[in-house]
Symmetry: C2
DNA sequence: ACAACAATTGAACAAACGTTCAAATGTATT
DNA sequence: AATACATTTGAACGTTTGTTCAATTGTTGT
């Protein structure tokens, strides 16, 4: 009811109704977009993208990450947990150390894409 | 001093020094990574990615966005401001309305990439 | 000049976030 | 069993974030 009134109140509505219908038809479903946002959110923090960037080069242990990025193992570990949950990285234990690597090549691609966009 | 001790305390260091040197050499510079993170952060919110997704289909006014996404013009406008600052969208005025569109094709590409990754 | 409308803005607020710290877990060494 | 070390975990903290609300700006029509 309210919504209908709002619709009428906006002159745009009259003009752009078919446009919006087309947009609605073409749009990816809400769930996919929500998941894509969740994915990008993981890349959207400098600590996490630096971790992923290191893992783009090599498989390394938490200790190495901690040294390379000059952050505490705890801070790194918390972020690794998020990256693991998001299926962006995988890990394997070797003695006391745990080695992390990218879960798949998509991750590398996405980072490259982002870097390409900013380096212009 | 403390840092040196930490270094010695970690057996990894001895083992992976050359690896880490190689990683450091290959890594993009801090600034690029930071900017890439900032870019991805913009895609990492469901409201913003939905806005961008609409703009991938068509140039629309704030009013249209507000209706399509079922959110207040104010909320939309706040997010559009961030997208404008990040150079992801551009706008032009036409009478009382302001029409938004994607700033360039990269944006479309990045969204597509993200969607591809989640739809698997 | 005034009313109507599209859009923007700033302050306020709750929710989500990232790091720190202390404690815990798991593995190898003695 | 006990120690040492790599990593993880949970609680706490200050900071950032997204939305709401009320007020404002800019444009059109009367």
């Amino acid at each position: 009811m309210e919504y209908e009134e709002m619709k009428d109140a906006c002159p745009c509505q009259e003009v752009h109704t078919d446009l919006l219908d087309r947009v609605r038809a073409e749009m990816p479903d809400e769930t996919s977009l929500y998941e894509a946002a969740e994915l990008f959110r993981l890349f959207g923090d400098s600590t996490r993208i630096r971790i992923l960037s290191v893992l783009s080069c090599a498989e390394v242990c938490v200790c190495d990450l901690s040294q390379t990025l000059n952050m505490t193992p705890s801070a790194i570990s918390h972020q690794l947990k998020l990256l693991r949950q998001g299926k962006l990285v995988k890990c394997r234990r070797e003695g006391k150390s745990i080695f992390y690597s990218l879960a798949d090549d998509h991750v590398r691609t996405i980072i490259r894409q982002g870097l390409e966009h900013v380096e212009e």
